[in-house]
Symmetry: C2
Subunit: 303 residues, 2 copies
């Protein structure tokens, strides 16, 4: 099953020729979720050939321009390109006012409906659920109200191997019993145990997106044990004071959070334009938390 | 003296991998004026190495997203990069509300001052003047209120060649008299005529920017005789009905306006993404108005 992240932009503050403003596409079982939408995101979606009409859910972490200024343009392009399907936008409540003002002045009447979901900046909250996935928002600590997002697959079903269904001519009621951990006896008096015929369920995976935050241990319970953690690393330790002052993190601080939260892998990003090489961030973080990687535009990371 | 246009974006409706959204830099005597500011304009400014802190005046034609959605990002980046100098923004009055809302939600307090100048959609109006230049806005005919902008150099001073000033030891009062077309007699009883010592003044140049408009002869008096006319050509004649329906123009219509207005040269742009080659527009227009050229990102056109 697909569970992967495509980086569209991972620069901080202002887009440059090296890095676009923040945005990612999370692809879970071929459902596309857009995380933040800095200026130029729609061009990045085209560049990396992502079918952006398939995005049904957009998540904005906070209202600094580098995280949302591409949103009105994307909404407008989806309309111009013929969208009819509803769009769900999660983020600060002011997004509705911003979007509606821009639509009003341009006399744009969308051919699709936008559902606005205002997030809670005080506590973790479930904001989405379907048969296989839950999404939560949770508070981050930044200069202005800001949330992270957690994508967690639900426990996956136990599967009975097809060869056994045929061999024992298993009926639906017997399959349900086996999946529930009970042994059954077939009409031919054969005892079939779950241990014999069931595969262990595939592990459920999880991803947490922490866009802009200072070093803040309070967020650890929200991301405990995720398979992949994206945690911003705007600065290196040499700029630790600046990081604190601007409510951002260093690569070492991101690694410390990853370590304390017991995550599987750490993904770094949201780089200040003062740094030339993404590898510098990995070099600093990997001393504390070895299994880490850097974001760069166009990179696809498997969860 | 410099008078040139740099194309930052010339695509219609939605940015693509081929064309950016509308924006141009007009450089007149090393003063930089930004015309429209579609999404991604700040990246284009970087790409073409334009010192964008030197821009003091931004002109927005109308509030369709492809003409202004890069403005808040640019304003924010100018701030983050240390701007202190005032910025003047000309365009629809709602721009103030849009910009102030975005600054408010991001809790951004600019270190520079923005002067908002609301344009008049009903009649031509002088909106800027300095010692050498006048700028007017004038109405265009589009789906929503929209203006064009006219840049006209003031008449240039007659200059007296230096060699004559030395030869005749001309005094300031004599120079003024000669510049005013009067002959003078030197203390040595030599008659000096303006014809002998003055160069004809350099021709004053003018540029008109007509961003989005249907074929509309009413605009002709506003652009009569300009040296360079940018007139949108969203479509070719094969899509003439669509052009009319969407309040846009074809290349042939742009050429007809250029011909009737007696302009020096026509510059085409604002292409629908359905067309692959900019040359198609020139091929159609040049039958009617031969001295025409096409916009493309990064191209510099001398006025």
């Amino acid at each position: 099953m697909t569970f992967e992240i495509t980086i569209l932009g991972c620069g901080a503050a202002t887009p440059t020729l090296k890095h676009n403003a923040s945005s990612q596409v999370v692809n879970i079982h071929d459902k596309l979720f857009l995380m933040d939408c800095g200026e130029g995101t729609q061009i990045q979606l085209r560049k990396y050939k992502i079918k952006f009409q398939r995005i049904q859910h957009i998540f904005i972490s906070h209202l600094h321009g580098d995280h949302y200024l591409g949103l009105v343009g994307l909404i407008s392009s989806l309309h111009l390109l013929g969208r009819k399907n509803d769009l769900h936008i999660y983020g600060p409540s002011e997004l509705k006012e911003i979007i509606e003002l821009n639509l009003r002045v341009s006399q744009t009447y969308l051919d699709y409906f936008i559902h606005y979901h205002a997030v809670n900046f005080e506590s973790k909250e479930k904001i989405f659920e379907d048969h296989s996935l839950e999404i939560h928002s949770f508070p981050l600590k930044h200069r202005i109200p800001c949330v992270g997002y957690l994508f967690a697959e639900k426990p996956k079903q136990i599967k009975i191997r097809k060869e056994y269904i045929n061999r024992y001519s298993l009926q639906p009621s017997e399959i349900i019993a086996l999946k529930n951990g009970q042994s059954i006896t077939t009409p031919k008096n054969i005892v079939v145990t779950p241990q014999e015929v069931c595969d262990a369920p595939e592990k459920s995976k999880s991803y947490a997106y922490c866009s802009d935050t200072m070093y803040w241990e309070t967020l650890i319970p929200s991301i405990q044990g995720v398979d992949l953690l994206y945690h911003e690393s705007t600065f290196l330790e040499s700029e630790k004071e600046r990081a604190k002052h601007t409510f951002h993190s260093t690569a070492a601080q991101a690694a410390t959070i990853a370590l304390k939260a017991g995550v599987g892998k750490l993904l770094l990003g949201h780089y200040s334009s003062r740094y030339a090489e993404e590898e510098e961030f990995v070099n600093e973080a990997s001393v504390i938390f070895p299994n880490c990687d850097f974001s760069t535009e166009g990179k696809i990371i498997q969860v």
